[in-house]
Every structure is written in structure tokens, then in C-alpha cells.
């Protein structure tokens, strides 16, 4: 159980270890993008952890990094193709950040640090925990940015179906800077400060 829960808060990949920052900030101008990105990462993380754990005795030590990269890149491509085929508007708004999951340090980091040494079941749990932790972090950032920057919360968007909550006066006069890169960095700074303070208190 601990294998699963540690990724949620204590070793949260975004806030605690500051890994995978690029997608965490780039796609979080909308909650729905954050959810989509999060699920993509969960899928890749769980699958690659499982695969690498299964192959951990097969993969020669000398070339383990290239082998991991091939495994991860394959799952990333699968996610990209599936998203383009079944969720095209999400794929369009995430753009190059889907293929960039491949260089998300969280995934290679977990493969190296955990999946290569543990059983398949534990690795899947670890991947799931880390993935959910990553997704929660993304949603938290996106929630702040979309509420302040656009005055709305978009929970789902695909073609004509759209679930979007508009927040009265704020949606008419949003603080647009939060939708821009500058706002993302500032929101991230305050989240990081909050996170560090909380984890210090807990000790």
C-alpha cells in the first residue's frame, strides 16, 4: 500500500521532486488539458513500469537506458495515436506535449529507480501512485490558472460536448496573465512554497 500512496504526496513527482515540470506548466491553462495529460502519463507510466519490471532480467545492464527509452517511446506513441484517433481536439490542444511525455523525467526516473528492481505488481502500483500524484498536481495548478486566468473550469471538451463552469464576473474580466506562461511559473512557485511548508510541518 505504501508503494502506492507515496507518490501522492510524500514523493509527489511535481511538487516534491520537481520532475516533469515542462508538461506540468505548459498544458495547465485548462483543467481538461491537465486531466488528459495526466491520463496519458498514467498510462505510459503504468505500462512502461510493468514492461520494464517483466523484462528486468532480460535487459542487459550495459544498455538498460536505451532499452528503457525504446519501451517508453513505444507506449508514448501508442498514447499519441490513440488520442489523435479518439480525442482529436484534446490531441490538438496538447500538441507536441504528448510526444514529449517520452522525455518526462518522471517516467525514466521510475523505470530506473523502481521498476528495474521490483516485482511487476509493485511496479504497477508504483506507476499508478506516481501517475495519480502527477495528475493531481497538474489539476491543482490548472484549477488555479483556469479560474484566475479565464474565469472558468473546463472539465470536458470533445467536439460539440463541452462541460464548462463559468464563474460569473471573473469570466468577463479574467486576470489573463495567469493563462500565460508567466502566470504558470508564479502559480508553481507558490504551490512549491505551500508544499514545502506543509511537508516541514508534518515532520
Amino acid at each position: 500500500m505504501k508503494v502506492f500512496t507515496k507518490g501522492l504526496f510524500k514523493e509527489n513527482p511535481v511538487f516534491a521532486i520537481a520532475l516533469g515540470l515542462c508538461p506540468a506548466l505548459a498544458v495547465t491553462s485548462m483543467v481538461w488539458n491537465a486531466i488528459g495529460m495526466g491520463f496519458g502519463v498514467i498510462f505510459v507510466l503504468v505500462c512502461s513500469n510493468l514492461m520494464i519490471s517483466l523484462l528486468r532480467n532480460f535487459i542487459p545492464d550495459e544498455v538498460h537506458i536505451p532499452a528503457y527509452i525504446v519501451v517508453i517511446a513505444s507506449f508514448v506513441t501508442i498514447v499519441e495515436l490513440l488520442m489523435k484517433a479518439y480525442l482529436p481536439s484534446l490531441a490538438a490542444s496538447l500538441g507536441i506535449f504528448i510526444p514529449l511525455i517520452v522525455v518526462n523525467c518522471v517516467i525514466l526516473g521510475r523505470a530506473e529507480a523502481f521498476a528495474s528492481k521490483n516485482t511487476p505488481l509493485d511496479s504497477v502500483l508504483d506507476g499508478l501512485g506516481m501517475g495519480i500524484g502527477f495528475t493531481l498536481a497538474l489539476i491543482a495548478i490548472a484549477l488555479v490558472r483556469e479560474v484566475l486566468g479565464s474565469g472558468q473550469i473546463t472539465l470536458f471538451e470533445q467536439g460539440a460536448s463541452l462541460i464548462r463552469i463559468k464563474l460569473g464576473p471573473l469570466s468577463d474580466n479574467p486576470i489573463r496573465v495567469f493563462a500565460f506562461p508567466a502566470g504558470a511559473l508564479i502559480v508553481m512557485g507558490y504551490f512549491k512554497a505551500l508544499f514545502e511548508t506543509i511537508s516541514k510541518r508534518r515532520k
Binding site: 506548466l25 507536441i96 523525467c105 512557485g189
Partner: protein
Amino acid sequence: MEVISDIIGIVFTYVLVSNVILTQFLGLCPFIGVSKNTESAVGMGFAVTFVITLATLFTWMLYNWLLVPAGLEYLKVISFILVIASLVQFVEMFVKKNSPSLYKALGIYLPLITTNCAVMGIALLVVEVEKLSLFNSVLAGFSAGIGFLVAILLMSAIREQLEIEWVPKGLKGTPIAFISAGLMAMAFMAFDKALLMNLVG
């Protein structure tokens, strides 16, 4: 004239308007991780510039001369990342053998670059999304690297200054680095396409 304005346009865009870090969020991990002092920031900046330039060259050739004719575009992620990983490996070996002093300066940053999203991101952006010509792609890659260098250099200068300034307790370290980067990104918003249009028409 056309060529010159193209060159100015690309350099201006990739260094300032769409700065890799401050507007595209590519390469944020090293930006926060390696910007504690100016020396390592410069080292990282040059290493990234070098690798991005080569990576755009090789991925462009791979994509347009091999993957597209063969209809294998879906293998782009896997092949690009392998090209970048082996490129980094070769550069490391080459530099180690031929220039020990350069290796000393850049060596420790090179392995980190494989998972630097700036390299992969720019390669994907110029080759697949923008579909620039070979020369323009390499130029864009180089400019993006310079953009990275500029941003990380400025950031390291700010962080060195922050070390000796009074900072609220909770914000010490990375949080204030993020916030400063945010303010810097705000300053970079002044460089927009409208400005570029006025410049090159």
C-alpha cells in the same frame, strides 16, 4: 532580402518571442536545477545549444529523407529519442577525446541533456509541426539553444543575487526561483509577433 528577413525572423522568434523556456516551457528542469550559479548555467547553456543544433539537423534528415518517404511517421518519437540519445553519447565521447578542457566544462551536463525536453521539443516543433526547410530548421535549433542560454544565464544571475537578499522564509530556494522566472517571463511578453512584424514586415 527575403532570405535575410527570414533569418532575422527565425532568430528573433526562437531567441525572444518563443523563448524555449519562458514561453514554451521546454527544458524547465535544468533551468531550475542548474541555475544556482552562473558558471554551471553557462556550461549547460552551451551544451544544450550544441546538442539542439545537431539534433535538429539529424532529426530533420531522418524525418524528411527516411520516415516520410517510407510512410513511417508514427515511428518519429522512438527514432528521434534514439537519435538524440546516441548523439549525446557521441558528442560526449568526441569531446572527451579531443578537448579535455571542454569536457571538464560541459561533461557533467551532457548526459542530462538526453532527457532535456528542449532538445526533443524543438526537434519535433521545427521538423514536424512547423515543417521548416533544412537550413531554417538548423537555424531555429541554434537560435532556440541561444534562447535557452540567455534565459538560464539571466536566471542564474538573479538567483546569485537572491542568495544575499532577504527572502520570506517559506519562499526560500526553488519557490522564489519559480516566481522570479515568472516575472522574467512577463518581461519577455514584450517581445511579441507584432513587434517582429514591424521589424521585418
